[in-house]
């Protein structure tokens, strides 16, 4: 779409179509295209390939300071809490993270904080087994805050390098579930004696504009430090992260590109920006 074309209004409309179909949302799309139209005019750009470079740079700068890697470990245990709506890919992402840290020779422990959904604890137990890490779990139906309490204290007592806490999926509009999440987070902070190293919001790349509501309401419940964008191996472009960066300033740190434990990558803004037009 962006090569060998005249720069005219039709091109800008086609660009809008591409960005909207990538789930960038109307507001972010208009913002980017207006900025591009202005640059094309002021720098007298008449051929589309040069314009593509500029748009990619625009998107990268929008994501800049909004892309990051996981925080570098300082104090033990390095604690990650994983949150997000139902089915986003939290448990699977934790399995991938466990594998990554294990490969770096870290002593990893997982907390089975989803005490609600059928088979949730068993699912995480299999990931713990597959990656060769320990698991702290209670009975199904028990209090997730109690699991969090035990997980943090076990990590401290056993000298674990990393603790990753799973939580039950929840829709962000469910007030009681969101306050449960806040409580679990508070318990972790209290037992740890400091802020958590990472509180990751897992977002499915196929999600549309609802991702903004997810970012906003989860941020109100717990201090999010980053986003893990999953299922980018599908045909969805995940353009919602542009709006999440632009409006909520939550950095994208990780990308899920499959269902196996090696299918986890650090977020790459340049690759992301160029693939948006793929």
């Amino acid at each position: 779409i962006m090569t060998g074309r005249k720069v005219d209004e039709e091109l800008f409309e086609d660009l809008e179509e591409v960005l909207i179909q990538a789930d960038c949302g109307v507001e972010t799309t208009l913002f980017l295209v207006d900025q591009l139209r202005e640059k094309a005019r002021s720098e007298k750009i008449t051929e589309s390939t040069a314009l593509k470079e500029i748009l990619v740079d625009e998107i990268i700068s929008l994501m800049d300071g909004n892309a990051d890697t996981l925080k570098t470990p300082q104090d033990k245990p390095y604690v990650i809490m994983v949150v997000g709506v139902n089915g986003a890919g939290k448990t699977t992402t934790i399995g991938k993270l466990a594998h990554r840290f294990k490969q770096e020779n870290a002593k990893v422990i997982l907390g089975a904080g989803d005490t609600f959904r059928a088979g949730a604890i068993e699912q995480l137990a299999i990931w713990a087994e597959r990656t060769g890490v320990e698991l702290i779990s209670h009975q199904e139906g028990s209090d997730p805050a109690a699991v969090a309490y035990d997980a943090v204290n076990a990590a401290k007592a056993r000298g674990s390098d990393v603790l990753i806490l799973d939580t039950a999926g929840r829709l962000q509009t469910k007030v009681n579930l969101m306050s449960e999440l806040s409580k679990v987070h508070r318990v972790c902070v209290r037992e740890l004696g400091r802020e958590l190293d990472e509180v990751l919001l897992v977002v499915d790349a196929t999600t549309g504009q609802n991702a903004l509501s997810q970012g906003k309401l989860f941020q109100e419940a717990v201090p999010l430090t980053g986003i893990a964008l999953t299922k980018l191996d599908g045909t969805a472009k995940g353009g919602i992260v542009l709006a999440l960066a632009n409006e909520l300033k939550i950095p994208v740190k990780l990308v899920g590109v499959g269902e196996q434990y090696e299918d986890l990558q650090d977020f790459d803004p340049k690759l992301f920006a160029t693939t948006l037009f793929g």
Partner: protein
């Protein structure tokens, strides 16, 4: 939201008394924005607005004293009609057992919906059988077994056997044990995964389901058309189930999926619990999408 933004647009146009075609365009632009913000697919929106414009620039609207209201009424009518009637029934086979297959992307809500359908069918006096054809996801079989136990519905499994074999064996089992409906839970998969899509085609050919339901997450964005089109082309779907409508997603995917497949949205998921399945109402969905 749309009604307050449209009111603002109408307020600006009110000084003009009657509407011109250009004024209608302005109103349609607001509606287009609302639909895009609601995640309706770009091309579906374009076709829908063209359809509405034709009606909205008719004489009766342009000469009306409340043209804005007329346009909203037309949009609501067209949207509701596009999303089809309310058909909350599974298609059965003339000869028992009927086989229903649940398909869709990862995490859409297939396993949970299988449970909900089981409960609904049991309440209607049927004898459903759950079939565990997801042999890949960790503890997927366990998840279905827990639901089966909760609902007192039998779960057929052969462990990590070929899903086509499992489906065939389950069908024979249902015949021997007098289960009249076989609900097959399949693994989540990408519509672009040829191997896994072929697996679904093979299961279909093996047990000839009377109903194949595509389970779609209500928060799905623009990609909904690609997914629905692909699944429908390869499987000829019987219907759609839209899940997680108990959240605040506008659910524009409903319009996109219906527009591109023509298949009815039969049920909606409105909670994580086993009683959280309701009939789809196009008029309620229309006003939800419009915001």
């Amino acid at each position: 939201n749309l009604s307050s933004r449209l009111q603002e647009t109408m307020r600006k146009l009110r000084g003009k008394g009657r509407l011109s075609e250009k004024d209608v365009d302005e109103v349609l632009r607001e509606i287009r924005l609302a639909l895009l913000e609601a995640d309706v697919n770009y091309k579906v929106v374009r076709d829908f607005i063209a359809l509405v414009k034709e009606r909205a620039t008719g004489h009766d609207v342009l000469s009306s004293l409340t043209p804005g209201q007329q346009v909203i009424r037309i949009v609501n009518e067209e949207l509701t009609q596009l999303m089809g009637g309310s058909q909350a029934k599974l298609t059965m086979s003339p000869q028992a057992p009927s086989v229903v297959m649940m398909v869709g992307l990862q995490g859409a809500g297939k396993t949970t919906t299988t449970g909900k359908l089981g409960q609904m069918l049991k309440k209607q006096g049927h004898r459903p059988l759950f079939v565990a054809c997801d042999i890949y996801r960790p503890a997927a079989i366990k998840q279905l077994q827990v639901l089966g136990e909760q609902l007192d519905i039998p779960v057929f499994t052969l462990g990590e056997e070929d899903p086509v074999k499992i489906a065939a064996a389950a069908h024979r089992h249902a015949q021997s044990y007098n289960n009249d409906i076989v609900l097959i839970d399949t693994a989540g998969r990408l519509h672009v995964d040829e191997g896994l899509m072929n697996e679904l085609v093979n299961i279909k050919n093996e047990v000839e389901p009377s109903e194949i339901l595509l389970v779609v997450d209500a928060m799905t964005g623009q990609d909904a058309v690609n997914v629905a089109e692909s699944f429908n082309e390869q499987l000829d779907l019987g219907g759609i189930v839209l899940t997680k409508l108990d959240g605040d997603a506008r659910g524009g995917a409903a319009l996109s999926v219906k527009a591109v497949t023509g298949k009815p949205i039969k049920f909606i998921g409105v909670s994580e619990k086993m009683d959280g399945l309701e009939a789809f109402h196009p008029d309620r969905m229309a006003s939800r999408i419009l915001g």
